[in-house]
Amino acid sequence: MFKFNRRTFVGTTAASAAGILLGNTLSGFTDKEDSETAAAPIKKVDLMAEVRKYRKIDSHAHFGLAGATNASNLSYADRLGIDKLVISKPMAPGSPGLPEEFRACNDAIIGAVKAHPDRFMGQLTLNPTYKKESMEEIKRCTDLGFTGMKLYNHVKINDPLFYPIIEKFIDLKLIILMHSPIGKARIKYNAREPKNISIPEDFVDIAKRYPEAMFQFAHTAGGIDWEDACKALQHSPNVYVDLSGSNNIANMVEFALRYIGEDRLFFGCDNSFYQGVGHIISAKMTEAQRKKIFFDNYNNILRKAGKNVD
């Protein structure tokens, strides 16, 4: 059944090399029947030109996790035209979460940002169980120019322990990025998730309590039921959603656009760089929407504290 059309192949590749959109004359379909019924010629696409067309802020990147180094992060970023990476090193899930642990994590980020201040922006981590030490850490890190906070799952985002931390971040006009879980697809979250994992409903709850605060719901592509999560978060205007993660299932971005909207979505990779860029380029949206998601939305958040890129 499959008929390899050598005329099409020769026509398209020759013209592609010259960057010419084929007309019927060049396509090889010279007879009437072919020109009416055969495949339209395919124009070669310069994918990397399309990728590089957009400025990008990766709103969710890590250093010191899963082998991520300055060199590896910059290698991917340079390859894919990512201008800035917002990096963090949250404490390992299930760790005691002691002050010395979060300080060490933040020290690592301080070092990474210091090495490449033109490319990396730092996010601190902490454990609100240790209020005094956490408040001190916020001061230490923000004095050094940190632009936000990234948290794992030691304490739920809507736990009262977080209230003073959130209030401090409201004052600082900085965003709070909180991890989200894997699963729910089989009615319940993945068995390995700890009891303090923040689920979408927790974000809804805390966002309502603190409408002035800015929260970032982590990685729709990180393994959560993204449809369920987006629907939960659709009416929480101060919850922003990053599209990072390894699950580049088709239509996730379009779905998030429908339920979250073009002003509350962030480009991010969570170190799955190809998927992070690829599914936004692949998604059906306007150029203006893509520009917002790749760059403007996050830059507008940074602007609130005067930390915007341009």
């Binding site: 059944m1 499959f2 390899f4 395919i42 894997i182 190809y274 860029v277 690829g278 380029i281």
Partner: protein, 261 residues
């Protein structure tokens, strides 16, 4: 030239798909410059009688001349369902299928099942490629009605060991690609080609060195995965990882050789 080695039409029962019919897939191909797509039917995963899915696929391709030069159909065959030998013969001889897709996780058999081995030997004898996907969807957010099992590359090796001279397409390399020394050597010398759609292709440049530049080809796993990421992994390779000639082999050359196009 650009050939997508891993596309589908049809439905996924637990998720709304777009671009899952020939007009929409053709539009995607135009948009991203894909000349030809290897395509099989998602319905073949869910129909008990997979042959109906193959017939639907064939009919649709035959319905338009343009499709016949743009799509290379692969038949879904279930070797533990009665009539599979006839399904294979009909698909190859009458429906114009150029390869077969196996879905052991969904159809409920292991790759070392004697019927599976027999089918793969039949395919080998006709120079028909056998395609296997390490997973169809990410099991983490998938439906509570969907399968939970996924494969690593090592899980495919029993059939490669059993029929080492068959042609294999391994797609959606979503999980570990670690093989022991013996299996790595076997895979390298076998007629195996792997697509670029899977999430575990973190460093295609290194994989080209490990397995060989002839072992990879462009694939989207569309419309399940986004259309672009598999291509991005190729197009963003640096010159020291792949020169233009190697990139062209990844875009289409390797697959053209593999499929005798």
């Amino acid at each position: 030239m650009l050939i997508d080695s891993n596309a589908y039409i049809g439905h996924w029962p637990f998720l709304q798909l777009k671009y899952n019919n020939f007009p929409a897939l053709s539009e995607r191909m135009q948009e991203f410059g894909t000349d030809i797509s290897v395509v099989s039917s998602l319905n073949g995963i869910f129909y008990k009688n997979t042959q109906f899915a193959n017939e639907e696929l064939s009919e649709e391709i035959r319905s338009k001349k343009a499709y016949q030069s743009r799509f290379i159909p692969f038949a879904v065959i279930n070797p533990i369902y009665n009539g599979w030998r006839e399904d294979f013969e009909t698909s190859v001889n009458k429906l114009g299928m150029k390869g077969i897709r196996l879905h052991p996780i969904y159809h409920g058999y292991e790759l070392d099942n004697p019927a599976c081995i027999e089918l793969v030997k039949m395919a080998r004898d006709r120079d028909i490629p056998v395609a296997l996907s390490l997973r169809m969807v990410d099991s983490r957010p998938s439906s509570w009605l969907d399968v939970e099992k996924e494969w690593t590359l090592a899980n495919v090796m029993p059939i490669v060991r059993a029929v080492p001279d068959a042609k294999y397409m391994i797609v959606n390399l979503a999980n570990s690609l670690v093989l022991d020394e013996k299996d790595t050597a076997l895979l390298k010398k076998s007629k195996v080609i792997m697509d670029t759609s899977g999430r575990n292709l973190l460093d295609l440049g290194s994989l080209l060195k490990t397995f060989g530049t002839d072992k990879f080809c462009f694939g989207t796993h569309s419309p399940v995965l986004d259309y672009c990421t598999g291509l991005l992994r190729i197009e963003s390779l640096r010159n020291d990882e792949a020169n233009e000639q190697t990139k062209e082999m990844l875009r289409s050359g390797n697959l053209r050789s593999f499929l005798n196009l």
